[in-house]
Amino acid sequence: MKIAICIKQVPDSWAEKKMAGGVLDRAGVDAVLNDLDEYAVEEALRIVEANSPTKEAGEGSGHTITLISMGPERATEAIRKALSMGADDAILVTDPSLAGSDALATSLVLSEVIKKGNYDLVICGTESTDARMSVIPAMISQRLGWAQLTFAGKVAVNPAANTVEIERVTEFGNQVMSAKFPAVLSVVEKINEPRYPSFKGIMAAKKKPITNMSLADTGVGASDVGAAAAWSNVKDALPRPPRGAGVKLTDEGNGGEKLVEFLVEKRLA
């Protein structure tokens, strides 16, 4: 099998995030591999390990795991992390004209890169911890015309039959869905426990190839990406006003009722 994983470098979840000119200021904060993408990497590794004669990913497994990312050169840090977990190689699309791209442009670029790779499966996290839209897997599936198997809490791959079955986990309950390759998957965070990179993995990752692609290499036109091509426009982004004083409820034997009234008023109940 050829598996691709879409990964993104994001600002550290714990860092204070600021907006600059309608977009997230990415330069001023620590950048890490999107937490939720680690589950995608782990799941790909487990799929390969389960179907490898050596019970390991990498050379000799007969399968490959390629990371695909779009971002600045700095995103190689996040890529190395995923490589150290066990992915084989990576493609990074870097181009100044991509700055400010919306989800539609991002999904277009990723789809064009995926098309070139003859992959059986594309696996994504459910969302990035910065934009939190969770639309990229669905957009990629739509653009490629591949089966959409998203929000998977369980994945079962049958490489001999070229089929994959998932259990989709959503607010409306669980659904079992299945499809033939090629398919686009997204995995929820309860699907597995991502491994920590081993020392051997970290050393090996330094030698694994990262292919750099420009926008022109992907075949996408510069007029289709970047802030100017975005199909939505941020009018303003304002920091939260300082918190006002809270409400004190005095318990005069009816504290519970007062609390419930407060929660209902704030639409929290």
């Binding site: 539609l104 969770s134 639309v135 089966a147 959409q148 989709r168 079992v176 939260r240």
Partner: protein, 190 residues
């Protein structure tokens, strides 16, 4: 007045609480038009009439079998046909995927997880754990906006919405991953 469509979610024959909220948003912008994907839509229509709804468009077909990909197909065809002022969808896993695919199909901009949308279709989003408030608009195609549940109090009404049917087809690509079994969510309490 221009039409504002909203996708009326329903599960096991009952509309969700968020459906009434979307009706309320839609009515504050223009004519409130509910879109219902169901083979037996009348019970859904009856429930929607408890909210400000001017019209209901029902779409029948194998949408339960093929899930969000199929619903996105149907919605996209409806958007192309009616060219509404906007379409509102609840910010759920399903809703955001339907929005995402419909956005690609129709070439329309998308805004997700809004906590408000005003009469000029300016959305409010609360991002980075609530530390930043963003106001934004869609600039291309039919604005596709997903709204978080519980961001508005639904207005009650006694509507008698006109019901129309719309015929939509499901593409081969949207049929690639059929749902083979379903388990409804088990909720504790209440």
């Amino acid at each position: 007045m221009s039409e504002v469509l909203f996708l009326a979610d329903h599960s096991a024959g009952k509309i969700t609480k968020a459906a009434g909220e979307l009706a309320t948003y839609a009515k504050s912008i223009g004519d409130s038009v509910a879109v219902v994907f169901a083979d037996n839509a009348q019970p859904i229509v009856d429930q929607l009439n408890a909210f400000p709804v001017d019209k209901v468009i029902t779409i029948a077909g194998e949408f339960d079998k093929y899930g969000p990909a199929a619903i996105a197909d149907g919605l996209a065809q409806l958007l192309t046909d009616r060219k509404p002022a906007a379409v509102l969808i609840t910010s759920t896993a399903n809703g955001k995927e339907i929005a995402a695919r419909a956005s690609v199909i129709t070439g329309s901009g998308i805004i997700t997880d809004a906590v408000n949308v005003d009469k000029d279709l300016i959305t409010t989003q609360s991002v980075f754990g609530g530390s930043t408030t963003v106001h934004a608009t869609v600039t291309k195609g039919v604005p596709i906006i997903t709204l978080r549940a519980n961001s508005i109090e639904a207005t009650g009404a006694t509507s008698s919405a006109a019901v129309e049917t719309f015929a939509a087809t499901i593409s081969e690509a949207a049929k690639l991953a059929p749902i083979t079994s379903s388990t409804p969510v088990v909720k504790g309490g209440s």
